[in-house]
């Protein structure tokens, strides 16, 4: 009953919402998005820049809550009341919209040539023939640290795993700071900021990820289990009661200066810049031995596509070509430090923390999160299971081996890799 009520309410609100827009004289484009944090940036920077260059087209940014976005968007698309432009989640959520005919094919859109194949991979059909969203940004994983704490304790950003744990031991022995701000209550912190953050160094980025999809490697192989063994060691360095510590709790612990290291995604940068009163630095996930090739998770995260049933398709395509332009990339990357442009054109960024993150692209090999492409299509869902198991490993509920076995068993239940 609750679900029905929710759907009815959503439908009701969209009908009312779009009724208002229909009376505007210019062509009005509505953008559906889950990035409600970005509302100000769209309204104050991006949309004025576009409207100035393209008179006669008005753009409205209409975000909804991140956790409700997928469900709300699907309901709106089915009812035919969704906006003209759809912000695309990476991989299957958007692919599903494309195969259902909700998203238009943008392969030949002017501006698409500005993106590499890797950048487009998250919004293409499996054979790579059709692209249906214009890539906007990726996020990079790493660790953000409290520079003042590091200076006080005489620690330098660790490059190897041994250094990393030595630093954690030192912070713990000193006792002023909680060594690491992370909790397992919301599960995804453990998986995204933990497993997917440090993992690429073990499974060698793309090499391991592609081998997993091809079925040549298994989640029970050492390179997939070892990151869990390392995660299990984190337990001793987390704050008291980390089992009930939520994601906002971790953010606050770090920005209040109570914790020294924060396993991060680059999307935190703008929030941390306004919240934290101390200097911050960042280091890439430490490698096992000095001199090893480093791998980072440079995850394609956000793109924008065209609603196939949009009445303003031409205006929307003008907008999308603008999104594919270096001009948009520059405004976006600077307005939202931490969301790195996927555009081939080099983008100059002002924020030092963002510069640090993006500098890893030059020395490390990038990959995307291992569970996102193809592998989370079935039941049980590998991404969800990874959340649960990562938290279990840190909580001590499961050993790393058991976690790997459970995940592989779940994957085997439905996934038959093409040989």
């Amino acid at each position: 009953m609750q679900t029905r009520l929710l759907t009815a309410l959503l439908l009701g609100s969209t009908v009312l919402g779009s009724a208002g827009a229909a009376f505007a004289q210019d062509k009005t484009l509505t953008i559906e998005s889950w990035r409600n944090d970005d509302l100000a940036i769209w309204q104050e920077k991006l949309i004025p820049a576009f409207e100035k260059a393209n008179p006669g087209i008005k753009v409205v940014f209409a975000p909804s809550a991140p956790t409700e976005y997928n469900a709300a968007l699907n309901a709106k698309l089915d009812a035919g009341s969704a906006g003209d432009l759809i912000t695309c989640r990476p991989f299957d959520a958007s692919l599903d919209l494309y195969t259902k005919g909700h998203l238009a094919d943008l392969t030949s859109l002017p501006g698409m040539e500005n993106f590499s194949d890797v950048a487009k991979s998250a919004w293409q059909t499996d054979d790579g023939k059709a692209t249906f969203c214009v890539p906007m940004a990726s996020v990079i994983h790493g660790f953000i640290y409290n520079k003042e704490a590091f200076d006080k304790l005489g620690i330098t950003p660790p490059a190897t795993e041994a250094d990393f744990f030595a630093a954690l031991d030192k912070i713990k022995a000193d006792g002023t700071y909680i060594p690491m701000a992370m909790g397992t209550k919301d599960l995804w912190e453990a998986a995204t900021m933990g497993y997917q953050n440090i993992g690429p160094n073990y499974w060698k980025g793309e090499e391991g990820r592609v081998a997993l999809i091809k079925g040549e490697q298994k989640l029970t192989d050492p390179q997939w289990v070892e990151p869990y063994a390392t995660l299990a060691k984190w337990k001793d360095y987390l704050g008291d009661g980390f089992e009930a510590q939520t994601y906002p709790d971790s953010q606050n612990l770090f920005t209040l200066g109570r914790a020294a290291i924060y396993p991060a995604g680059s999307w935190e940068i703008s929030g941390f810049n306004t919240q934290a009163q101390f200097k911050m630095g960042a280091f890439a996930p430490p490698v096992k031995n000095a001199g090893d090739t480093c791998y980072i998770s440079d995850h394609t995260d956000i793109a924008v596509g065209l609603n196939a049933k949009s009445p303003n398709a031409d205006a929307a395509k003008t907008f999308l070509s603008w999104v594919a332009s270096p001009e948009f990339a520059t405004i976006y990357a600077n307005a939202l430090p931490g969301f790195f442009s996927l555009n081939n054109a080099p983008v100059k960024m002002e924020d030092p923390l963002a510069q640090e993150f993006v500098s890893w692209r030059d020395k490390c090999k990038p990959t995307i999160r291992s569970t996102y492409q193809i592998l989370s299509r079935g039941t049980p869902n590998l991404e969800n299971e990874t959340w649960v198991e990562s938290a279990n490993v840190i909580n001590g509920t499961d050993t790393p081996q058991v976690a790997g076995e459970k995940l592989q068993k779940g994957l085997d239940a439905w996934y038959k890799p093409a040989k």
Binding site: Q2, T3, Q245, E383
Partner: protein, 310 residues
Amino acid sequence: MSLDDQPIKRPFRWHIVVFLAPAFFVYTAFMIVPLFGTLQLSLFRRVDQQSVYVGLDNFRMLFGDPRWSVNFWNALWNNVWFFIIHMLVQNPIGVLLAALLSSPKLRFRAFYRTAIFIPTILSFVIVGFVWKLILSPLWGVAPNLLDLVGLKSLFTPWLGKEEYALTTLSLISVWQFVGIPMMLIYAALLSIPDEVIEAAECDGITGLSQFWKIKLPLILPSIGIISILTFVGNFNAFDLIYTAQGALAGPNFSTDILGTFLYRAFFGFQLQLGDPNMGAAIATMMFFIILAGVCVYLFTIQTRLRRYQF
């Protein structure tokens, strides 16, 4: 000539139909049609963008395929535990509070009544959020309060521990809803006529034994109603778990109840795409579980309850 021979011809009473119609149509449109829509949806499956009739195959998958059945049985058992806690804690406390409230010596009765009832009208979101904060190991008042009485060692991050999380959430829900059994029992206690009580007193039955022997049997029908309301409410529950623990009902699915399981299946979660047909199958099972529970109550318990007419 007498009128008695002729059958009295009453005009058809249209006003009854007219007055019933709005309720009938609203109820049909918003309850009956969606209910059958759900039942129907659970018999189909999407194959290549087409809805295909698959009979009971979705249910076979739900019970027979370990990918679904493990989660289903886990959610069902958690839901049963959720219900057991409510029956063992919420309803006895509700009866106790009502008995205390109806005691003639009690002062500030209206205040207590209101204060205990207020959480019931709060939104789940507020309750979930407030309790998450209270129990937070970082900023919560619970660790400090325990520290004040020297029991800090008893504190653990309850909502994050697999073995405590569900019980903790059940108790939060009990805290929120204890006002409802209290009010219903209180009303039932007030409706016991004074003559019965006086007669009992003449026979020398006072105090506690008066409660056990006279009042409790008289309020049993109300307790029955409360039990069935609790049952229906618990097996439909979703909001509190969702606001406090999220849709994955962590840690390790230990707080996953049928409502959250349904939500994940129907709407999907993160990379998991929604599957309305499996969702409908779960919703159908919830419907049948509740239906079965209500039938057991109606046909076995309620018929045996004795009603006293005064």
